[in-house]
Amino acid sequence: MSLKPVFRYALVIIAIGVLWKLAALGLGGIILPHPEAAVRAFLSAMGTQIFWEHFGVSGYRAVTAMVVAWGVAFPLGLVMGSVKRVDNLLAPFIFLTYPIPKIVLLPVFLLLFGLGDLAKISMIALILGYQILVTTRDGVRSIHPKYSDSVRSLGGSQWDVLCEVLIPAALPHGFTALRLGVGVSVAVLFFVESFATTRGLGYMIMDAWGAMDYLTMFTGILGMSLMGAALYEIANLMERRACTWMFLRKK
C-alpha cells in the first residue's frame, strides 16, 4: 500500500475518533464506550486466538462469497452484454428479480443448504453477484464497437474479440462492482452471522451485545471494519494490477 491511502485512512480514523469521543462523552461512556477504551480492548483482543478464529471464519465466508460471485457473475455479464440472444433470454429475469431484497431469502437458504457455511456464503454471493452481473453486462454493452471492428479487421475471430476487447474492457466494470460490493458483503455477512452460528465476527458482536459487554461488541465492530477496509484495498490493488491502463497519468 502506498503512503497516500495510509494517510487517507489515518485522517478518517482520527476524524471518526474525535466524533466518537464527543458522542461517548455526551452519552456518559456506558452505552458507547470511549474510543481509547474500545481501541485498547481491540488491541488486546488481537493478541487472543479466539478473536482471530472469529476473524478468520468471517474472512473465509466473505472472500469465498466474493470469489464465487465474481467467478459466476463476471463471465455471465460478459456473455449477456455481448450475445444479444442470451441477453434477451436472461435480462427480463435478472431485472425483474434485481429489486427484490435477496436478504429475505436467508431462511429459505438455511432450509435448503443447512445451518453451515454454505447457506451464508451463498447468500452473500447472490447479493454481490447481482451487482457484478448488472454492472459488467452494462459495461460490455457500452464498449464502443470500433474496438471489436479493429480486432475483426485484423482477421480476428469472435474468440479474439472476446479475449482482446470484451474481457479487458469489462474488467474495470467488474472490479468497480466488486469494490462497491465489499461494503454490502460485510453488511450481509454481519446479518447472516447473527443466525445459526457460534463463529464469526457477526456472532461475536451479537453475542457481546446480548451480554451487554459493549467493549467486546466494539472489538467485533472494529474487526469487521478492519476486514471491510482490507477487502476494499485488496480489490483496489487487484484492479490496479489488472487494469494498469485505467490509472495512467497523462504525459
Binding site: V151, S153, G156, P168, W245, K251
Partner: protein
Amino acid sequence: MLIAENLSKYYGGEGVLDNVSFSLGREETLAVVGPSGCGKTTLLYLLSGLTRADSGVAFLDGELIGRPTSDISIILQDYGLLPWKTVVENVALGLKIQGVFKKERMERARAQLAELGITGRDSDYPANLSGGEQQRVAIARAFVSRPRLMLLDEPFSSLDALTRERLQRTLLDVWKLRKVPFVLVTHSLEEAVVLGKRIMVMSSRPASPVAVFDNPGFGDESIRDTKGCFELLKELRHTVEALW
C-alpha cells in the same frame, strides 16, 4: 489488384451505396472524396470484409472479399488502437491473431515502429501518445502484417496541419518502400491530391462515383508547390461544387 463491381448497401431500406465499381492496380492509390455521410466509410467497411454488401462483389487479386483477413489492413477514423494494450502490443496484435510467436511478433512490431520513427515508446499506452504518434502507431499496425491492400478512413482528419503534412509524407514514404495499394477516404481535396494516384469523387447518398481524376503529379514530394496540383485542385473543386 482490387476490383469492386456494383457494390450496393442499404441501411433500414435507405440506400447508402449504389452500384459502386472501380479497380485499383498493384502499385496504385485511390483517394475517395465525397460529402459528409455519403457512405465513404461504408465503402471501406465493404472492401475490408467487416460489412457485407447487399449486392455486388469485390475481389483482391482474384479472391472474393468475404470476411476480414490479414491481407487487408484498415485504419479506422480514430485509429482503433486498444487503450488497454501498450504501443508495441497494439502493433503486434494482427501478428498475434495470425499465430506468430511472441518473440518474433514483438521484434517485427518494434522494427515497424522504428521505421515510422517511434522509438522508446513501446511500453506506453495510447492515452499517453499525441494524436500524431497514435496515428503512426496505427499505420505501423496496419503495415506490420504485410497486407496486400490498405484502407484508410480519414486517417489524419483530427490532426493539426503540420502533423498532418508530416504524416502524409510518412505514409507516402512507406508506400514507396512497400508499394502496397491503398484506398484513402478523405474530406480534404488537398489530401486527396497529395495521396491519390487517382481521385474518385462520390455523389451524395446513395453514393456512387461521378468522376475519376488521374493525378500525374502523384508521388512528387513537393506536389503542393506545383502548377499541376493547383490545376487539379481547381478542377476537383469545380466538380465537387457542382455535385454536393
